[in-house]
Protein backbone atom coordinates (compact mmCIF):
# COMPACT_ATOMS: atom_id res chain seq x y z
CA UNK A 1 0.00 0.00 0.00
CA UNK A 2 1.25 3.43 -0.89
CA UNK A 3 1.00 6.43 1.36
CA UNK A 4 -1.49 9.09 0.30
CA UNK A 5 -0.15 11.59 2.76
CA UNK A 6 3.16 12.00 4.47
CA UNK A 7 4.18 14.60 7.02
CA UNK A 8 7.77 14.80 8.09
CA UNK A 9 9.27 17.11 10.68
CA UNK A 10 6.30 19.44 10.42
CA UNK A 11 6.34 22.31 12.87
CA UNK A 12 3.98 25.21 13.48
CA UNK A 13 4.28 27.91 16.11
CA UNK A 14 2.03 30.79 17.02
CA UNK A 15 4.36 33.43 18.42
CA UNK A 16 6.04 31.66 21.33
CA UNK A 17 3.62 28.73 21.49
CA UNK A 18 4.57 25.61 19.61
CA UNK A 19 1.29 24.23 18.24
CA UNK A 20 2.77 21.31 16.33
CA UNK A 21 6.27 20.04 16.98
CA UNK A 22 8.44 17.86 14.71
CA UNK A 23 5.50 15.83 13.52
CA UNK A 24 5.91 12.69 11.44
CA UNK A 25 2.80 10.99 10.15
CA UNK A 26 1.78 8.91 7.19
CA UNK A 27 -1.61 7.90 5.91
CA UNK A 28 -1.98 4.78 3.80
CA UNK A 29 -4.22 4.63 0.78
CA UNK A 30 -7.81 3.89 1.77
CA UNK A 31 -7.05 4.27 5.46
CA UNK A 32 -9.22 5.99 8.06
CA UNK A 33 -6.76 7.77 10.33
CA UNK A 34 -7.95 9.80 13.29
CA UNK A 35 -6.06 12.54 15.05
CA UNK A 36 -7.28 12.36 18.63
CA UNK A 37 -6.39 14.69 21.44
CA UNK A 38 -7.60 17.35 23.84
CA UNK A 39 -8.24 20.85 22.52
CA UNK A 40 -5.05 22.76 21.85
CA UNK A 41 -3.06 19.59 21.25
CA UNK A 42 -2.29 20.52 17.63
CA UNK A 43 -4.59 18.12 15.80
CA UNK A 44 -6.69 20.76 14.05
CA UNK A 45 -3.58 22.80 13.20
CA UNK A 46 -2.15 19.67 11.58
CA UNK A 47 -5.32 19.22 9.53
CA UNK A 48 -5.28 22.88 8.47
CA UNK A 49 -1.69 22.54 7.27
CA UNK A 50 -2.60 19.46 5.23
CA UNK A 51 -5.50 21.45 3.73
CA UNK A 52 -3.19 24.37 2.96
CA UNK A 53 -5.25 26.77 5.05
CA UNK A 54 -2.20 27.22 7.27
CA UNK A 55 1.48 27.08 6.41
CA UNK A 56 3.97 24.99 8.41
CA UNK A 57 7.05 26.80 9.71
CA UNK A 58 9.22 23.77 9.03
CA UNK A 59 8.97 20.27 7.59
CA UNK A 60 7.39 18.86 4.46
CA UNK A 61 3.92 17.65 3.57
CA UNK A 62 3.63 15.22 0.68
CA UNK A 63 0.31 14.40 -0.94
CA UNK A 64 0.21 11.58 -3.51
CA UNK A 65 4.00 11.58 -3.64
CA UNK A 66 4.40 15.28 -4.43
CA UNK A 67 5.24 18.10 -2.03
CA UNK A 68 2.35 20.48 -1.56
CA UNK A 69 4.42 23.25 0.01
CA UNK A 70 3.75 25.64 -2.87
CA UNK A 71 0.20 24.52 -3.59
CA UNK A 72 -2.71 26.67 -2.37
CA UNK A 73 -5.74 24.78 -0.98
CA UNK A 74 -7.62 24.97 -4.27
CA UNK A 75 -4.83 23.12 -6.11
CA UNK A 76 -4.54 20.31 -3.54
CA UNK A 77 -6.62 17.29 -4.34
CA UNK A 78 -8.47 17.27 -1.04
CA UNK A 79 -12.00 17.46 0.29
CA UNK A 80 -12.76 18.99 3.65
CA UNK A 81 -15.70 18.76 6.03
CA UNK A 82 -15.88 21.48 8.65
CA UNK A 83 -17.40 21.28 12.12
CA UNK A 84 -20.04 23.91 11.32
CA UNK A 85 -20.80 22.47 7.87
CA UNK A 86 -19.76 25.62 5.96
CA UNK A 87 -22.46 25.07 3.36
CA UNK A 88 -23.03 28.02 1.03
CA UNK A 89 -26.28 29.51 2.38
CA UNK A 90 -27.33 31.12 -0.89
CA UNK A 91 -27.10 27.94 -2.93
CA UNK A 92 -29.40 24.94 -2.99
CA UNK A 93 -28.11 21.59 -1.79
CA UNK A 94 -27.60 20.50 -5.40
CA UNK A 95 -25.61 23.62 -6.29
CA UNK A 96 -23.55 23.25 -3.13
CA UNK A 97 -22.58 19.71 -4.07
CA UNK A 98 -22.05 20.68 -7.72
CA UNK A 99 -19.73 23.56 -6.77
CA UNK A 100 -16.47 21.55 -6.66
CA UNK A 101 -17.38 19.83 -9.93
CA UNK A 102 -18.03 23.20 -11.53
CA UNK A 103 -14.62 24.38 -10.32
CA UNK A 104 -13.09 21.38 -12.05
CA UNK A 105 -14.88 22.05 -15.32
CA UNK A 106 -16.96 18.87 -15.20
CA UNK A 107 -19.71 18.96 -17.85
CA UNK A 108 -23.17 19.82 -16.66
CA UNK A 109 -24.78 16.45 -17.38
CA UNK A 110 -21.92 14.57 -15.77
CA UNK A 111 -22.05 16.92 -12.78
CA UNK A 112 -25.78 16.33 -12.32
CA UNK A 113 -25.24 12.60 -12.39
CA UNK A 114 -22.40 12.73 -9.85
CA UNK A 115 -24.36 15.06 -7.56
CA UNK A 116 -27.38 12.75 -7.56
CA UNK A 117 -25.12 9.81 -6.86
CA UNK A 118 -23.44 11.61 -3.96
CA UNK A 119 -26.75 12.71 -2.45
CA UNK A 120 -27.98 9.13 -2.79
CA UNK A 121 -24.88 7.93 -0.97
CA UNK A 122 -25.51 10.21 2.01
CA UNK A 123 -29.21 9.35 2.08
CA UNK A 124 -30.60 12.68 0.87
CA UNK A 125 -31.72 11.93 -2.70
CA UNK A 126 -34.81 14.15 -2.51
CA UNK A 127 -33.28 17.20 -0.87
CA UNK A 128 -31.40 18.66 -3.84
CA UNK A 129 -33.64 21.70 -4.25
CA UNK A 130 -33.66 22.76 -0.62
CA UNK A 131 -31.55 25.50 0.86
CA UNK A 132 -29.12 24.53 3.63
CA UNK A 133 -31.11 26.35 6.29
CA UNK A 134 -34.14 24.22 5.51
CA UNK A 135 -32.20 21.16 6.66
CA UNK A 136 -31.41 19.86 10.13
CA UNK A 137 -27.84 19.90 11.44
CA UNK A 138 -27.35 16.22 10.66
CA UNK A 139 -28.69 16.64 7.14
CA UNK A 140 -26.47 19.67 6.57
CA UNK A 141 -23.42 17.68 7.59
CA UNK A 142 -24.40 14.91 5.18
CA UNK A 143 -24.59 17.48 2.40
CA UNK A 144 -21.17 18.78 3.43
CA UNK A 145 -19.87 15.21 3.27
CA UNK A 146 -21.40 14.72 -0.20
CA UNK A 147 -19.88 18.01 -1.36
CA UNK A 148 -16.42 17.10 -0.06
CA UNK A 149 -16.22 13.74 -1.82
CA UNK A 150 -18.34 14.12 -4.96
CA UNK A 151 -15.17 14.83 -6.97
CA UNK A 152 -13.35 11.85 -5.45
CA UNK A 153 -10.46 13.74 -3.88
CA UNK A 154 -7.33 11.80 -2.99
CA UNK A 155 -7.87 12.65 0.65
CA UNK A 156 -10.88 13.60 2.73
CA UNK A 157 -10.21 15.83 5.74
CA UNK A 158 -12.77 16.05 8.52
CA UNK A 159 -12.47 18.57 11.34
CA UNK A 160 -14.68 17.45 14.24
CA UNK A 161 -17.55 17.03 11.78
CA UNK A 162 -19.96 15.70 14.38
CA UNK A 163 -19.02 18.06 17.20
CA UNK A 164 -22.15 20.20 16.83
CA UNK A 165 -24.61 17.30 16.77
CA UNK A 166 -26.39 15.56 19.61
CA UNK A 167 -25.23 12.17 20.80
CA UNK A 168 -27.74 9.97 19.03
CA UNK A 169 -27.28 11.66 15.67
CA UNK A 170 -23.54 11.58 16.19
CA UNK A 171 -23.52 7.82 16.64
CA UNK A 172 -25.71 7.36 13.58
CA UNK A 173 -23.50 9.57 11.43
CA UNK A 174 -20.34 7.86 12.70
CA UNK A 175 -21.57 4.62 11.19
CA UNK A 176 -22.65 6.38 7.99
CA UNK A 177 -19.32 8.08 7.50
CA UNK A 178 -17.64 4.75 8.09
CA UNK A 179 -19.92 3.11 5.53
CA UNK A 180 -19.23 5.84 2.96
CA UNK A 181 -15.51 5.46 3.63
CA UNK A 182 -15.69 1.74 2.99
CA UNK A 183 -17.94 1.99 -0.07
CA UNK A 184 -15.81 4.65 -1.73
CA UNK A 185 -12.47 3.36 -0.50
CA UNK A 186 -11.56 6.96 0.22
CA UNK A 187 -8.62 7.94 2.44
CA UNK A 188 -9.75 9.89 5.47
CA UNK A 189 -7.91 12.09 7.93
CA UNK A 190 -10.31 12.72 10.79
CA UNK A 191 -9.96 15.04 13.75
CA UNK A 192 -11.84 14.57 17.01
CA UNK A 193 -11.44 14.99 20.75
CA UNK A 194 -13.99 12.23 21.37
CA UNK A 195 -12.12 9.01 22.13
CA UNK A 196 -15.20 6.82 21.68
CA UNK A 197 -15.72 8.30 18.24
CA UNK A 198 -12.09 7.62 17.39
CA UNK A 199 -12.34 4.01 18.58
CA UNK A 200 -15.56 3.44 16.62
CA UNK A 201 -14.43 4.79 13.29
CA UNK A 202 -10.69 4.52 12.83
CA UNK A 203 -8.31 2.07 11.26
CA UNK A 204 -5.56 3.83 13.14
CA UNK A 205 -5.51 6.59 15.72
CA UNK A 206 -2.77 9.14 16.39
CA UNK A 207 -3.05 10.44 19.94
CA UNK A 208 -1.96 14.08 20.16
CA UNK A 209 -0.74 15.82 23.26
CA UNK A 210 0.93 19.23 23.40
CA UNK A 211 1.76 19.32 19.70
CA UNK A 212 3.26 15.85 19.58
CA UNK A 213 2.00 12.39 18.75
CA UNK A 214 2.09 10.26 21.89
CA UNK A 215 1.24 7.04 20.12
CA UNK A 216 -0.11 5.90 16.80
CA UNK A 217 -1.75 2.55 16.24
CA UNK A 218 -4.96 0.58 15.85
CA UNK A 219 -7.74 1.19 18.38
CA UNK A 220 -6.95 -2.20 19.98
CA UNK A 221 -3.26 -1.38 20.31
CA UNK A 222 -3.94 1.97 21.92
CA UNK A 223 -6.51 0.53 24.27
CA UNK A 224 -4.72 -2.64 25.29
CA UNK A 225 -1.11 -1.54 25.00
CA UNK A 226 -0.89 2.20 25.63
CA UNK A 227 2.67 3.48 25.17
CA UNK A 228 2.40 6.41 27.56
CA UNK A 229 0.52 7.29 30.67
CA UNK A 230 -1.29 10.04 28.73
CA UNK A 231 -2.65 7.55 26.20
CA UNK A 232 -3.72 5.17 28.96
CA UNK A 233 -5.59 7.99 30.67
CA UNK A 234 -7.06 9.62 27.55
CA UNK A 235 -8.49 6.53 25.90
CA UNK A 236 -11.04 4.59 27.93
CA UNK A 237 -11.25 4.35 31.72
CA UNK A 238 -8.16 3.34 33.62
CA UNK A 239 -7.14 2.65 37.19
CA UNK A 240 -3.76 4.10 38.10
CA UNK A 241 -1.80 2.67 41.05
CA UNK A 242 1.54 4.24 41.87
CA UNK A 243 4.57 2.68 43.46
CA UNK A 244 8.28 1.87 43.01
CA UNK A 245 9.89 -0.35 40.40
CA UNK A 246 11.30 -3.53 41.95
CA UNK A 247 12.46 -5.33 38.82
CA UNK A 248 12.34 -4.99 35.04
CA UNK A 249 13.05 -7.84 32.66
CA UNK A 250 11.92 -9.10 29.32
CA UNK A 251 9.16 -6.54 28.83
CA UNK A 252 7.70 -7.28 32.24
CA UNK A 253 8.14 -5.51 35.53
CA UNK A 254 7.24 -5.71 39.17
CA UNK A 255 6.02 -2.67 41.04
CA UNK A 256 5.76 -2.31 44.80
CA UNK A 257 2.72 -0.23 45.71
CA UNK A 258 1.25 0.54 49.13
CA UNK A 259 -1.68 -1.62 48.12
CA UNK A 260 0.47 -4.58 47.21
CA UNK A 261 3.08 -5.97 44.80
CA UNK A 262 1.91 -5.82 41.17
CA UNK A 263 3.04 -7.25 37.85
CA UNK A 264 2.63 -5.42 34.58
CA UNK A 265 3.92 -4.87 31.06
CA UNK A 266 6.93 -2.56 31.12
CA UNK A 267 7.13 0.54 28.94
CA UNK A 268 10.24 2.54 28.03
CA UNK A 269 12.12 4.40 30.69
CA UNK A 270 11.32 2.26 33.71
CA UNK A 271 14.25 2.21 36.14
CA UNK A 272 14.59 -0.03 39.14
CA UNK A 273 14.02 2.03 42.26
CA UNK A 274 12.27 4.88 40.44
CA UNK A 275 8.60 5.62 40.95
CA UNK A 276 6.09 4.34 38.42
CA UNK A 277 2.36 3.94 37.86
CA UNK A 278 0.49 0.82 36.89
CA UNK A 279 -2.53 1.28 34.61
CA UNK A 280 -5.20 -1.35 34.34
CA UNK A 281 -8.60 -1.26 32.68
CA UNK A 282 -11.60 -1.81 35.01
CA UNK A 283 -12.80 -4.78 32.93
CA UNK A 284 -9.37 -6.45 33.18
CA UNK A 285 -9.55 -6.58 36.98
CA UNK A 286 -10.82 -9.98 38.07
CA UNK A 287 -11.48 -11.68 41.39
CA UNK A 288 -8.45 -13.79 42.24
CA UNK A 289 -7.69 -16.10 45.12
CA UNK A 290 -3.94 -15.63 45.28
CA UNK A 291 -4.38 -11.95 44.73
CA UNK A 292 -2.00 -9.13 45.38
CA UNK A 293 -4.74 -6.62 46.08
CA UNK A 294 -7.26 -6.63 48.89
CA UNK A 295 -10.00 -4.13 49.39
CA UNK A 296 -13.54 -3.32 50.43
CA UNK A 297 -16.40 -2.66 48.02
CA UNK A 298 -17.66 0.86 48.69
CA UNK A 299 -20.13 1.17 45.83
CA UNK A 300 -21.94 -1.03 43.32
CA UNK A 301 -23.42 0.62 40.22
CA UNK A 302 -25.66 -1.37 37.89
CA UNK A 303 -25.11 -0.30 34.27
CA UNK A 304 -27.40 -2.74 32.46
CA UNK A 305 -24.87 -4.87 30.59
CA UNK A 306 -22.35 -4.65 33.41
CA UNK A 307 -21.82 -3.76 37.04
CA UNK A 308 -19.30 -1.26 38.22
CA UNK A 309 -17.68 -1.80 41.62
CA UNK A 310 -15.71 0.83 43.42
CA UNK A 311 -13.19 -0.93 45.65
CA UNK A 312 -11.17 0.86 48.32
CA UNK A 313 -7.80 -0.81 48.58
CA UNK A 314 -6.04 -1.21 51.92
CA UNK A 315 -3.90 1.91 51.34
CA UNK A 316 -7.00 3.98 50.59
CA UNK A 317 -6.71 4.26 46.79
CA UNK A 318 -9.83 3.47 44.81
CA UNK A 319 -9.92 0.86 42.09
CA UNK A 320 -12.84 0.54 39.69
CA UNK A 321 -13.84 -2.95 38.60
CA UNK A 322 -16.23 -3.66 35.74
CA UNK A 323 -17.82 -7.09 35.49
CA UNK A 324 -20.47 -8.34 33.02
CA UNK A 325 -23.92 -8.31 34.59
CA UNK A 326 -24.47 -11.95 33.71
CA UNK A 327 -21.45 -12.97 35.80
CA UNK A 328 -21.71 -13.75 39.47
CA UNK A 329 -21.61 -10.60 41.58
CA UNK A 330 -18.25 -9.63 43.00
CA UNK A 331 -19.87 -8.91 46.31
CA UNK A 332 -22.19 -6.49 48.04
CA UNK A 333 -21.25 -3.10 49.38
CA UNK A 334 -18.99 -3.49 52.39
CA UNK A 335 -17.74 -6.94 51.51
CA UNK A 336 -14.05 -7.77 51.28
CA UNK A 337 -12.66 -8.77 47.89
CA UNK A 338 -9.38 -10.00 46.48
CA UNK A 339 -8.44 -8.71 43.04
CA UNK A 340 -5.86 -9.44 40.40
CA UNK A 341 -5.16 -9.45 36.66
CA UNK A 342 -3.04 -11.11 34.05
CA UNK A 343 0.30 -9.22 33.91
CA UNK A 344 -0.19 -8.64 30.14
CA UNK A 345 -3.36 -6.64 30.88
CA UNK A 346 -1.65 -4.00 33.00
CA UNK A 347 0.96 -1.49 31.88
CA UNK A 348 3.53 0.29 33.99
CA UNK A 349 4.73 3.82 33.14
CA UNK A 350 7.58 5.83 34.54
CA UNK A 351 6.25 8.72 36.63
CA UNK A 352 7.12 12.30 35.84
Amino acid sequence: MTNVLELSGVQKRYDAVVAVDALDLSLRSGEFLTLLGPSGSGKTTTLMMVAGLQQPDAGTITLNGASVAKLPPYRRDIGMVFQHYALFPHMTVRRNVAFPLEMRGVSKTEALRLVDEALQLVGLPDHGDRLPKQLSGGQQQRVALARAMVYRPALLLMDEPLGALDRKLREQLQLEIKRVHQERGISVLYVTHDQEEALTMSDRIAVFNQGRIEQIGSPEELYDRPATRFVAGFIGDTNFLSGKVLAVSDGRCEIETPAGRLQARATQGLLVGASASVAVRPERVVPAASAALRGTITDVIFLGTSRKYVVRLKDGTECVVLRPANEAALGARGSEVELGWAPAHATAFRDG
Binding site: A51, G52, P72, Y74, F82, H84, F88, P89, H90
Partner: protein, 267 residues
Protein backbone atom coordinates in the same frame (compact mmCIF):
# COMPACT_ATOMS: atom_id res chain seq x y z
CA UNK B 1 -47.13 44.43 31.23
CA UNK B 2 -50.46 44.56 29.49
CA UNK B 3 -49.71 44.99 25.82
CA UNK B 4 -53.31 45.64 24.76
CA UNK B 5 -54.55 47.99 27.45
CA UNK B 6 -54.28 51.74 27.00
CA UNK B 7 -52.10 52.35 29.98
CA UNK B 8 -50.91 55.93 30.52
CA UNK B 9 -47.39 54.89 29.51
CA UNK B 10 -48.66 53.45 26.27
CA UNK B 11 -50.59 56.62 25.48
CA UNK B 12 -47.59 58.78 26.26
CA UNK B 13 -45.35 56.62 24.10
CA UNK B 14 -47.79 56.79 21.21
CA UNK B 15 -48.15 60.55 21.52
CA UNK B 16 -44.38 60.99 21.58
CA UNK B 17 -43.95 58.89 18.45
CA UNK B 18 -46.56 60.93 16.60
CA UNK B 19 -44.98 64.16 17.77
CA UNK B 20 -41.55 63.12 16.51
CA UNK B 21 -43.00 61.99 13.19
CA UNK B 22 -44.81 65.31 12.74
CA UNK B 23 -41.68 67.22 13.70
CA UNK B 24 -39.67 65.31 11.13
CA UNK B 25 -42.21 65.29 8.34
CA UNK B 26 -43.95 68.68 8.64
CA UNK B 27 -41.22 70.75 6.93
CA UNK B 28 -41.05 68.23 4.10
CA UNK B 29 -44.80 68.28 3.64
CA UNK B 30 -44.82 72.08 3.61
CA UNK B 31 -42.06 72.20 0.99
CA UNK B 32 -43.79 69.64 -1.21
CA UNK B 33 -47.08 71.52 -1.01
CA UNK B 34 -45.46 74.89 -1.76
CA UNK B 35 -43.75 73.40 -4.82
CA UNK B 36 -47.20 72.95 -6.34
CA UNK B 37 -48.22 76.49 -5.43
CA UNK B 38 -49.68 78.88 -7.97
CA UNK B 39 -48.40 81.96 -6.09
CA UNK B 40 -45.31 83.85 -7.19
CA UNK B 41 -43.72 83.87 -3.79
CA UNK B 42 -43.36 81.48 -0.88
CA UNK B 43 -46.72 81.34 0.83
CA UNK B 44 -48.34 78.73 2.99
CA UNK B 45 -50.96 77.56 2.58
CA UNK B 46 -50.75 78.25 -1.15
CA UNK B 47 -53.69 80.14 -2.72
CA UNK B 48 -53.97 77.55 -5.50
CA UNK B 49 -52.21 74.59 -7.12
CA UNK B 50 -50.17 74.52 -10.31
CA UNK B 51 -47.14 72.90 -11.93
CA UNK B 52 -45.66 76.23 -13.03
CA UNK B 53 -42.59 75.94 -10.80
CA UNK B 54 -41.74 72.56 -12.24
CA UNK B 55 -42.11 74.06 -15.71
CA UNK B 56 -39.91 76.91 -14.57
CA UNK B 57 -37.38 74.44 -13.25
CA UNK B 58 -37.14 72.56 -16.52
CA UNK B 59 -36.94 75.70 -18.61
CA UNK B 60 -34.17 77.34 -16.60
CA UNK B 61 -30.75 76.25 -17.96
CA UNK B 62 -29.11 76.92 -14.59
CA UNK B 63 -31.30 74.23 -12.99
CA UNK B 64 -31.20 71.70 -15.80
CA UNK B 65 -27.43 72.07 -16.05
CA UNK B 66 -27.15 71.63 -12.30
CA UNK B 67 -29.26 68.47 -12.42
CA UNK B 68 -27.11 67.10 -15.24
CA UNK B 69 -23.92 67.89 -13.32
CA UNK B 70 -25.32 66.21 -10.21
CA UNK B 71 -26.08 63.04 -12.16
CA UNK B 72 -22.67 63.08 -13.88
CA UNK B 73 -21.20 63.47 -10.41
CA UNK B 74 -23.20 60.98 -8.35
CA UNK B 75 -22.99 58.09 -10.81
CA UNK B 76 -19.18 57.81 -11.02
CA UNK B 77 -18.55 58.89 -7.42
CA UNK B 78 -20.98 56.38 -5.91
CA UNK B 79 -19.68 53.57 -8.12
CA UNK B 80 -16.06 54.44 -7.36
CA UNK B 81 -16.74 54.72 -3.62
CA UNK B 82 -18.56 51.38 -3.63
CA UNK B 83 -15.83 49.55 -5.55
CA UNK B 84 -13.00 50.99 -3.50
CA UNK B 85 -14.88 50.80 -0.20
CA UNK B 86 -15.87 47.16 -0.73
CA UNK B 87 -12.31 46.23 -1.66
CA UNK B 88 -10.95 48.09 1.38
CA UNK B 89 -13.49 46.54 3.74
CA UNK B 90 -12.74 43.07 2.40
CA UNK B 91 -9.01 43.52 2.81
CA UNK B 92 -9.34 44.99 6.30
CA UNK B 93 -11.81 42.38 7.60
CA UNK B 94 -10.48 39.24 5.90
CA UNK B 95 -6.86 39.96 5.16
CA UNK B 96 -4.12 39.79 7.73
CA UNK B 97 -3.03 43.38 7.33
CA UNK B 98 -0.76 44.89 9.97
CA UNK B 99 -2.31 48.04 11.40
CA UNK B 100 -5.75 47.25 9.99
CA UNK B 101 -7.42 49.14 12.85
CA UNK B 102 -5.40 52.26 12.13
CA UNK B 103 -6.14 52.07 8.41
CA UNK B 104 -9.83 51.60 9.17
CA UNK B 105 -9.77 54.65 11.45
CA UNK B 106 -8.10 56.73 8.71
CA UNK B 107 -10.77 55.69 6.22
CA UNK B 108 -13.42 56.84 8.69
CA UNK B 109 -11.82 60.30 9.05
CA UNK B 110 -14.06 62.10 6.52
CA UNK B 111 -17.01 61.36 8.85
CA UNK B 112 -15.19 62.66 11.92
CA UNK B 113 -13.39 65.68 10.45
CA UNK B 114 -15.66 68.72 9.98
CA UNK B 115 -16.79 69.00 6.36
CA UNK B 116 -15.32 72.47 6.18
CA UNK B 117 -11.82 71.13 6.89
CA UNK B 118 -12.10 68.36 4.31
CA UNK B 119 -13.41 70.88 1.80
CA UNK B 120 -10.66 73.39 2.48
CA UNK B 121 -8.04 70.64 2.33
CA UNK B 122 -9.33 69.39 -1.01
CA UNK B 123 -9.45 72.95 -2.30
CA UNK B 124 -5.83 73.47 -1.30
CA UNK B 125 -4.64 70.22 -2.87
CA UNK B 126 -6.65 70.78 -6.03
CA UNK B 127 -5.21 74.25 -6.55
CA UNK B 128 -1.84 72.80 -7.36
CA UNK B 129 -3.36 70.21 -9.65
CA UNK B 130 -5.83 72.37 -11.50
CA UNK B 131 -8.74 70.26 -10.33
CA UNK B 132 -10.82 73.06 -8.83
CA UNK B 133 -13.94 73.74 -10.81
CA UNK B 134 -13.73 70.42 -12.67
CA UNK B 135 -16.08 67.47 -12.63
CA UNK B 136 -13.09 65.20 -11.90
CA UNK B 137 -12.32 67.22 -8.77
CA UNK B 138 -15.90 66.92 -7.58
CA UNK B 139 -16.01 63.18 -8.32
CA UNK B 140 -12.85 62.62 -6.29
CA UNK B 141 -14.16 64.76 -3.42
CA UNK B 142 -17.50 62.98 -3.26
CA UNK B 143 -15.81 59.59 -3.51
CA UNK B 144 -13.68 60.44 -0.49
CA UNK B 145 -16.74 61.58 1.46
CA UNK B 146 -18.82 58.48 0.63
CA UNK B 147 -16.00 55.98 1.14
CA UNK B 148 -16.29 55.68 4.96
CA UNK B 149 -20.01 54.87 4.74
CA UNK B 150 -19.34 52.15 2.21
CA UNK B 151 -16.44 50.72 4.23
CA UNK B 152 -18.49 50.69 7.44
CA UNK B 153 -21.57 49.10 5.82
CA UNK B 154 -19.68 46.42 3.90
CA UNK B 155 -17.27 45.68 6.78
CA UNK B 156 -20.13 44.98 9.16
CA UNK B 157 -21.76 42.70 6.58
CA UNK B 158 -18.47 40.85 6.15
CA UNK B 159 -18.04 40.45 9.89
CA UNK B 160 -21.30 38.54 10.24
CA UNK B 161 -20.41 36.27 7.30
CA UNK B 162 -18.60 33.08 8.24
CA UNK B 163 -15.02 33.35 6.95
CA UNK B 164 -14.93 29.56 6.81
CA UNK B 165 -17.25 29.64 3.79
CA UNK B 166 -14.36 30.99 1.74
CA UNK B 167 -12.00 28.42 3.24
CA UNK B 168 -14.50 25.74 2.27
CA UNK B 169 -14.72 27.13 -1.27
CA UNK B 170 -10.94 27.13 -1.41
CA UNK B 171 -10.65 23.46 -0.39
CA UNK B 172 -13.32 22.64 -2.98
CA UNK B 173 -11.13 24.07 -5.73
CA UNK B 174 -12.10 27.74 -5.98
CA UNK B 175 -9.25 30.25 -6.49
CA UNK B 176 -9.55 33.38 -4.28
CA UNK B 177 -11.25 35.62 -6.86
CA UNK B 178 -13.76 32.90 -7.77
CA UNK B 179 -14.47 32.23 -4.09
CA UNK B 180 -15.11 35.94 -3.58
CA UNK B 181 -17.30 36.29 -6.67
CA UNK B 182 -19.33 33.13 -6.15
CA UNK B 183 -19.58 32.93 -2.35
CA UNK B 184 -18.75 36.15 -0.51
CA UNK B 185 -20.07 38.74 -2.94
CA UNK B 186 -23.59 37.25 -3.27
CA UNK B 187 -23.80 37.11 0.53
CA UNK B 188 -22.76 40.74 1.08
CA UNK B 189 -24.52 42.06 -2.04
CA UNK B 190 -27.40 43.71 -0.13
CA UNK B 191 -24.87 45.70 1.91
CA UNK B 192 -22.89 46.61 -1.23
CA UNK B 193 -26.00 47.82 -3.06
CA UNK B 194 -27.20 49.67 0.06
CA UNK B 195 -23.92 51.52 0.25
CA UNK B 196 -24.07 52.30 -3.48
CA UNK B 197 -27.46 53.94 -2.96
CA UNK B 198 -26.29 55.70 0.18
CA UNK B 199 -23.27 57.06 -1.69
CA UNK B 200 -25.58 58.31 -4.46
CA UNK B 201 -27.78 60.18 -1.97
CA UNK B 202 -24.77 61.59 -0.14
CA UNK B 203 -23.34 62.90 -3.40
CA UNK B 204 -26.63 64.42 -4.57
CA UNK B 205 -27.06 66.14 -1.22
CA UNK B 206 -23.47 67.23 -0.57
CA UNK B 207 -22.92 70.99 -0.26
CA UNK B 208 -19.74 71.98 1.53
CA UNK B 209 -17.08 70.27 -0.59
CA UNK B 210 -19.12 71.09 -3.69
CA UNK B 211 -19.21 74.78 -2.70
CA UNK B 212 -15.43 74.90 -2.45
CA UNK B 213 -14.56 72.81 -5.48
CA UNK B 214 -17.31 73.68 -7.98
CA UNK B 215 -17.34 76.56 -10.43
CA UNK B 216 -20.05 78.50 -12.25
CA UNK B 217 -19.79 76.07 -15.17
CA UNK B 218 -19.66 72.90 -13.10
CA UNK B 219 -22.25 73.44 -10.43
CA UNK B 220 -24.27 70.59 -8.87
CA UNK B 221 -27.87 70.97 -7.65
CA UNK B 222 -26.97 71.51 -4.01
CA UNK B 223 -24.72 74.47 -4.84
CA UNK B 224 -27.28 75.92 -7.24
CA UNK B 225 -29.90 75.71 -4.49
CA UNK B 226 -27.53 77.37 -2.04
CA UNK B 227 -26.80 80.32 -4.33
CA UNK B 228 -30.49 80.57 -5.20
CA UNK B 229 -31.40 80.76 -1.52
CA UNK B 230 -28.90 83.58 -0.99
CA UNK B 231 -30.70 85.80 -3.49
CA UNK B 232 -34.40 86.40 -4.02
CA UNK B 233 -36.07 83.13 -4.23
CA UNK B 234 -39.38 81.80 -5.46
CA UNK B 235 -41.12 78.42 -5.20
CA UNK B 236 -38.70 76.98 -7.80
CA UNK B 237 -36.52 76.15 -4.84
CA UNK B 238 -39.41 74.15 -3.36
CA UNK B 239 -39.81 72.33 -6.66
CA UNK B 240 -36.14 71.34 -6.81
CA UNK B 241 -36.23 70.39 -3.13
CA UNK B 242 -39.19 68.14 -3.90
CA UNK B 243 -37.21 66.60 -6.76
CA UNK B 244 -34.32 65.93 -4.36
CA UNK B 245 -36.70 64.48 -1.81
CA UNK B 246 -38.33 62.32 -4.47
CA UNK B 247 -34.92 61.03 -5.53
CA UNK B 248 -33.97 60.12 -1.96
CA UNK B 249 -37.35 58.47 -1.45
CA UNK B 250 -36.94 56.40 -4.63
CA UNK B 251 -33.50 55.26 -3.51
CA UNK B 252 -34.87 54.34 -0.10
CA UNK B 253 -37.69 52.35 -1.64
CA UNK B 254 -35.24 50.62 -3.96
CA UNK B 255 -33.12 49.70 -0.97
CA UNK B 256 -36.11 48.34 0.95
CA UNK B 257 -37.27 46.39 -2.10
CA UNK B 258 -33.81 44.88 -2.43
CA UNK B 259 -33.85 43.75 1.17
CA UNK B 260 -37.39 42.44 1.00
CA UNK B 261 -36.68 40.57 -2.23
CA UNK B 262 -33.64 39.00 -0.69
CA UNK B 263 -35.53 38.10 2.47
CA UNK B 264 -38.19 36.36 0.40
CA UNK B 265 -35.64 34.46 -1.59
CA UNK B 266 -33.96 33.12 1.54
CA UNK B 267 -37.15 32.47 3.49
Amino acid sequence: MNADGMTPWRLLRGALCILVAVYLLAPLVVVVIISFSSASFLQFPPPGLSLRWYAQLLSTPAWTNALLVSVKLLVPSSILATLMGTAAAYALVRGRIPGATVIMACLMLPIVVPGMITAAALFGVYRGMGLNGTLTGLVIGHTVLSLPYVVATVASALRVQDARLEQAASTLGAPPWTAFRRITLPLILPAVLSSLLLAAILSFDELIVSLFVSSARVRPVAVQMWSNLLGDFDPTIAAIATVCFGFALLVLIADLALRAGRGLRLA
